[in-house]
């Protein structure tokens, strides 16, 4: 089962499938396209695909400047290591898409509000936009956001907690996060009480972790 989702499936073939589906559904409607193509093809064609440059234009919910702040926060929360981090797999673009389609105005406003607050504190403290200050200063600011410090309120911390939840969810449900940073197996099979950690070297990702 796992083999059918090898990385090559996200390459050009899939792009043409997405384009094909988009056109087909424009012509016959989504419900009819679903009947013609079957569920799996549709879900793959519609699933959010990481873009290389979501921070360079407006998203569905966020303006371009907010997308840039979001990208930098993603990079701070899950940085690049031997595997790509949250910003590299376009978690910011995913969050914009996911909040737009799957959340209400309250949650959307939570994220908009914390992005605005981070922007304001950055200007006050460093005299520059968050995305313009260096990474060490960004990290200091986000760490202060986590503790009762000047400028940030309890509501800010709650908003940031929600945003971090979205970043973690977005990253660990992405193909890189789930199958490279973690180990992914669609059907894990039996239980083994003891496995030397070094024989795997990373944690397992499973569907249930995402709820």
């Amino acid at each position: 089962m796992n083999d059918q989702y090898d990385k090559t499936s996200l390459q050009p073939d899939n792009w043409s499938r997405r384009r094909f589906f988009t056109r087909l559904s424009a012509v016959v409607g989504i419900a009819a396209a679903v009947q013609l193509l079957g569920g799996e093809a549709i879900s793959t064609a519609l699933a959010y695909s990481p873009q290389p440059d979501s921070a360079s234009s407006d998203g569905k919910l966020f303006r371009q400047q907010q997308m840039q702040i979001l990208r930098d926060i993603c990079a701070q929360v899950i940085p690049q290591t031997a595997t790509p981090g949250a910003a590299e797999v376009d978690t910011h673009g995913f969050i914009d898409n996911q909040l737009f389609h799957c959340y209400g105005t309250t949650e959307q406003q939570q994220v908009k509000s914390i992005l605005a607050k981070i922007e304001r504190i950055s200007s006050q403290r460093y005299g520059q936009a968050f995305q313009a200050v260096d990474q060490a200063q960004q990290l200091v600011l986000l760490e202060e956001l986590e503790k009762p410090a000047d400028g940030f309120s309890q509501q800010d911390r709650e908003n940031f907690k929600f945003l971090k939840g979205q970043i973690v969810f977005g990253y660990y449900t992405s193909e890189v996060g789930a199958s490279e940073e973690l180990v992914y197996l669609a059907m894990p099979g039996g239980f083994k009480g003891s496995i030397p950690y070094k024989s795997i070297g990373k944690a397992w990702g499973s569907m249930r972790s995402y709820y």
Binding site: E40, T44, C102, G104, S174, E175, S179, G193, M207
Partner: protein, 195 residues
């Protein structure tokens, strides 16, 4: 999904007819068949074939439209009630009833979350693999809380049947000896982790 019926019309005579193919109906049919009764099962929902009618099976999250979540518009239109169920997700939503196609009303001042799964297998397709026994507190809950009538049977009537079913299904757990959560017939424990 498969709209075919297994039997269109038949003049066969059956010894037993089981109405509904969910967990309870499935068990009833199994018992009848094993005892040699010629058994007919009736199900109003559609046929679900293993593997081919499980579009959410084995699909990794990054291939799901919203990574296991379901979008607002679809929830609002088709699953206003069904979305309350813990088992509702992108990978299971097709096994829930469509609230738009099957509307219902409740008396003013009352509410009822009617989670529906009309299909071969019923809600067993949505079962998340936890199996607890009801206790005497549950069977007597109505009179204990001062509402209505108790069940006509008590825990001790059902206990041997719980055992009968559990030995076939295979239930994991540890004996806790709690009156509010009677112990099941448990499988041997999993192996321990090395210290």
């Amino acid at each position: 999904m498969n709209d075919e019926l297994y039997i269109k019309e038949s003049s066969e005579i059956f010894d037993a007819i089981v109405v509904g193919s969910g967990v309870a109906g499935g068990w009833a049919a199994k018992e009848f068949c094993e005892k040699g009764f010629k058994t007919l099962m009736i199900e109003r929902g559609r046929v679900v074939e293993h593997r081919e009618d499980y579009p959410g099976e084995g699909v990794p999250p990054w291939h799901q439209t919203y990574r296991s979540r379901v979008e607002n518009l679809l929830l609002e239109r088709d699953y206003k009630v069904q979305q309350q169920c813990y088992a509702f997700s992108d990978a299971t939503k097709h096994f829930f009833g469509n609230d738009r196609e099957m509307p219902y009303s409740t008396a003013e001042g009352t509410e009822f979350s009617w989670i529906r799964a009309n299909q071969l297998g019923g809600k067993s397709l949505l079962w998340h693999r936890q199996s607890y026994r009801l206790s005497e507190h549950d069977f007597r809950a109505n009179s204990l809380d001062g509402h209505g009538t108790d069940w006509p049977i008590g825990y001790k009537d059902l206990a041997p049947w719980y055992s009968h079913v559990e030995k076939h299904a295979g239930i994991c757990g540890t004996p806790e000896n709690l009156p509010q959560l009677p112990d099941s017939e448990f499988l041997p424990p999993f192996e321990m982790s090395a210290p």
